[in-house]
């Protein structure tokens, strides 16, 4: 299971990603949210390990932090890391969904210096937050806009050829999605139909590539090394079933 280039199930995404986050000492509630976000990413045909490994690496190396603060601003709200580090997308995504739920997508939410923006988008998608526009410019000056139109259809608008999964370290702005928006001009639009994408995944599985090994390594931190003593105390120990 630790090799790369595997096809895994959505249930395995849930199992391994929850524990991979737990493996970098993310509290279990956020780890569960993280795994649900990765299921949404997978259901849409992406390799979930691509954007998630970097988020876990950042936490593990302390380049990012789960510490978060909220402040009210004139346009709505602002989430940021008070420690001057990258804001971990694991915490940013959960807090962002909470804000949207309370504020019903009224006003704008700014999230500063998030390490993996797609994880925030996927948390919104996984929690069926729709009618939203998510905009960011990342550290490489790539500009992305995601429109979560309804619970089934969403789209990516970008002038960049870089994969959205690899977009990192960005200030994000979440606001209500308006049909009269002019932001389509000059951008490539990729539209997703969740039901169709999910059906495809259920019949073909989730493809994970080279980053999977890193996810598995973090997952492995949740396992307890076996010893002769622990083996001997396991269920069924000591019995040779030759009855």
């Amino acid at each position: 299971m630790s090799k790369s280039d595997l096809t895994i199930s959505l249930n395995e995404v849930l199992f391994y990603f929850t524990r991979a986050a737990f493996g970098v000492e993310v509290p279990i509630g956020l780890s569960e949210d993280f795994a649900r976000s990765n299921i949404w990413i997978s259901e849409n045909g992406f390799d979930p390990s691509l954007c998630s490994l970097e988020a876990l690496d950042n936490l593990d190396s302390e380049a990012s932090s789960l510490a978060i603060k909220f402040e009210k601003v004139k346009e709505g709200g602002h989430l940021f890391c008070p420690k001057g580090k990258l804001l971990s997308s694991l915490e940013a995504s959960a807090s962002c969904v909470d804000w949207v739920e309370v504020n019903s997508a009224n006003g704008e939410l700014k999230i500063s210096n998030v390490d993996s923006p797609l994880l925030v988008v996927s948390a919104l998608g996984a929690n069926q937050c729709s009618g939203l526009k998510v905009f960011w410019v990342d550290q490489d000056e790539n500009q992305f806009q995601v429109n979560l139109i309804d619970n089934e259809v969403w789209e990516i608008l970008s002038s960049s050829t870089n994969p959205i999964e690899l977009s990192s370290n960005a200030d994000m702005l979440i606001s209500p999605f308006g049909l009269g928006d002019e932001s389509y001009k000059g951008k490539t639009v990729k539209t997703f139909n969740l039901a169709e994408e999910k059906l495809n995944i259920l019949h073909n599985g989730v493809k994970v590539r080279e980053n999977w090994q890193g996810i598995y390594d973090y997952f492995s931190r949740c396992l307890v090394k076996s010893s002769a003593e622990s083996r001997a105390s396991g269920a069924g120990a000591g019995i040779v079933d030759t009855d």
Partner: protein, 580 residues
């Protein structure tokens, strides 16, 4: 019938409250009912006239090779692909960490092509070491009960029936040691099949695999006897075939599942408790039902006689149960005790007031049994698609009230005592085997699985008491992210009162076995045979109709089976009237 309809009964006076039902000692005394998942599946197979076919059997004279057995439903076909091999006796173990098995299985979605069989031949025998595809729904393995397997083949080959005492003492030819579904090791996710009618109730596809494995075991011994004995060989007689179940060894893997799926557990329990409440609320018994019940007491007496275990605690319970059923039969002989208004409620109260939990739960099963017409609809309410969500719009004051009202069982435990936090749950690196460790003895406390529901509620309650009501819950979890999971759990379970085990799962006295039996009873397993506090052997489908018996009117009459009998007791749900 929907889950919402079932919920209407929760406030009934006849409904047992969660604080009575969801306690480990009662859960660990559970028995299957007619709502158990194996019963539901057998009823569907019969109603929809499923066909069963052995597609291929390519094995050598010792039975080693590959076979395919199919179940053909009105809309689709499922196929069990069975691989058999010779293994060294000393490597035959029921544990998860085993490396080889007598037989390994994949349940395939459809009829496999040769390419599929070739692919699985390289994977299925490796079990957790293999990789599977969305075309595979279930992965399983089984080991022979060597004594029984060989005795049955040798006898049948000589043209005689096997040693029935031996066969009945074990009850099966092979014992499964794991049955994996729902996306394990790359198999199909539940979502792929969840909309199929036959897959909507819980665990139907896994239990279909087990049903086919049972057929495979019986077919195998009969074929091997024919191979050995030629024209002299005979088949098992019909009653014996029907009594033969398939064994199972169940360890700790089931326990975390129960704790991680509170909504599902609520739906299971509320269905069973609603069934009981409906029966207890009957003022005038339905025609024939009391007579069926009285005969069933005779039958279970014999069933209990045949339930022999080495475990001292369970043996004592069985002995007590024997006496109590006898005492209940005597009490029932006084017609004034039962031929009166609300007879089922009267019987239930008499048993609750006078007998052990084991007896109480057996009587629950027995009084529900003759009432298929008024309870079987509840089987449709026992699954869920709900995914728990964190509700940021709940106020902290609301949360405090919920914790105070619904989680007293947790907030009143003294977690400062060592014995209150004696145990912890963890995954071993040995094939992810779940283990139950003791603090100060076993390594791995740092990697504890988050299954300490009571302790987490207790800690949350302490923190809430220090926090002002005006703090929004979203800000509370920003400051204290370690409570996000337990708040989400509480938000989703307080409206589902049967979802939590209302005991401390870390305490020194906690027996995981109680959780296992609770879940196994919902599956429909019988003859619990504990081997320690951590695992048990059981029988599945013992007494259930074989594929060629599914169209018989008594196909649903197999609860608490008796050796050598083709069925249980007269049933008001069909025309069968065989006396016991």
């Amino acid at each position: 019938m929907t889950a919402d309809t079932a919920l209407l009964d929760i406030d009934s006076d006849f409904m047992r409250p969660p604080e009575q039902v969801m306690r480990l000692d009662r859960m660990g005394s559970s028995f299957p009912t007619r709502l158990s998942f194996m019963r539901t599946l057998i009823r569907r197979m019969s109603k929809e006239n499923w066909k069963f076919e052995r597609i291929s059997r390519e094995v050598d004279k010792d039975g080693y090779g590959v076979s395919v057995y199919s179940a053909i439903t009105p809309l689709r076909t499922y196929s069990l692909i069975a691989f058999t091999q010779e293994i060294p006796a000393e490597m035959r173990t029921d544990r998860v960490i085993a490396e080889v098995w007598d037989a390994t299985f994949s349940l395939f979605d459809g009829i496999p092509a040769q390419d599929d069989i070739d692919y699985l031949a390289n994977n299925t025998p490796k079990q957790e070491g293999g990789r599977y595809r969305p075309s595979e729904l279930v992965l399983a393995r089984a080991n022979k009960s060597l004594r029984v397997f060989e005795n049955v083949i040798a006898s049948l080959a000589k043209g005689i029936q096997p040693d029935l005492d031996l066969l009945y003492s074990v009850g099966y030819l092979m014992r499964t040691t794991a049955v994996y579904g729902s996306g394990k090791f790359g198999c199909a996710d539940r979502a792929k099949i969840a909309d199929r009618e036959e897959c909507k109730p819980p665990f139907q596809i896994e239990l279909l695999a087990v049903y086919l494995i049972r057929w495979f075991t019986i077919d195998s011994v009969e074929e091997l006897a024919k191979e050995r004995g030629g024209d002299k060989a005979v088949r098992l007689n019909e009653n014996t075939r029907q009594f033969v179940g398939v064994g199972n060894s169940t360890g700790l893997g089931m326990a975390p599942f129960l704790l991680k799926h509170p909504t599902l557990i609520h739906n299971w329990v509320v269905a069973k408790e609603t069934a009981l409440a409906r029966v207890r609320s009957i003022e005038t018994p339905l025609q024939g039902t009391l007579e069926v019940f009285l005969k069933s007491l005779l039958q279970v007496s014999q069933h209990i006689d045949e339930w022999n275990v080495e475990d001292a605690i369970q043996a004592e319970r069985i002995s007590c149960l024997t006496d109590e059923i006898q005492a209940l039969r005597i009490w029932c002989e006084d017609e004034s005790n039962i031929f009166r208004p609300y007879p089922w409620n009267g019987i239930y109260h008499y048993v609750e007031d006078n007998f052990s939990l084991e007896c109480q739960e057996m009587i629950v099963s027995l009084i529900i049994e003759p009432h298929g017409l008024i309870v079987d609809d509840l089987a449709e309410t026992m699954s869920t698609t709900s995914i728990p969500k964190f509700k940021a719009d709940m106020s902290l004051s609301q949360l405090k009230v919920v914790v105070e009202d619904c989680y007293q069982w947790a907030t009143t435990i003294d977690f400062s005592l060592e014995e209150s936090q004696h145990h912890f749950w963890y995954y071993s690196e040995d094939k992810l085997e779940p283990r139950f460790g003791s603090k100060g003895v076993d390594d791995g406390v740092e990697q504890e699985m988050p299954l300490a529901i009571g302790r987490d509620v207790y800690d949350l309650n302490e923190k809430l008491s220090e926090t002002h009501d005006d703090v929004p819950i979203s800000e509370f979890v920003m400051m204290h992210p370690q409570f996000r999971h337990i708040i989400r759990r509480i938000q989703n379970t307080f409206v589902r009162p049967y979802s939590e085990v209302q005991d401390n799962l870390l305490s020194e006295s906690m027996r995981p076995l109680d959780l296992l039996r609770f879940k196994l009873a919902f599956f429909g397993a019988s003859k619990y045979d504990p081997k320690s506090d951590l695992w048990t052997r059981i029988s599945m489908y013992q007494g259930a109709p074989m594929p060629d018996q599914l169209s018989e009117p008594n196909h649903d009459c197999w609860s608490f089976p008796i050796a050598g009998r083709s069925q249980s007791y007269p049933c008001i749900n069909c025309t069968c009237q065989k006396a016991i």
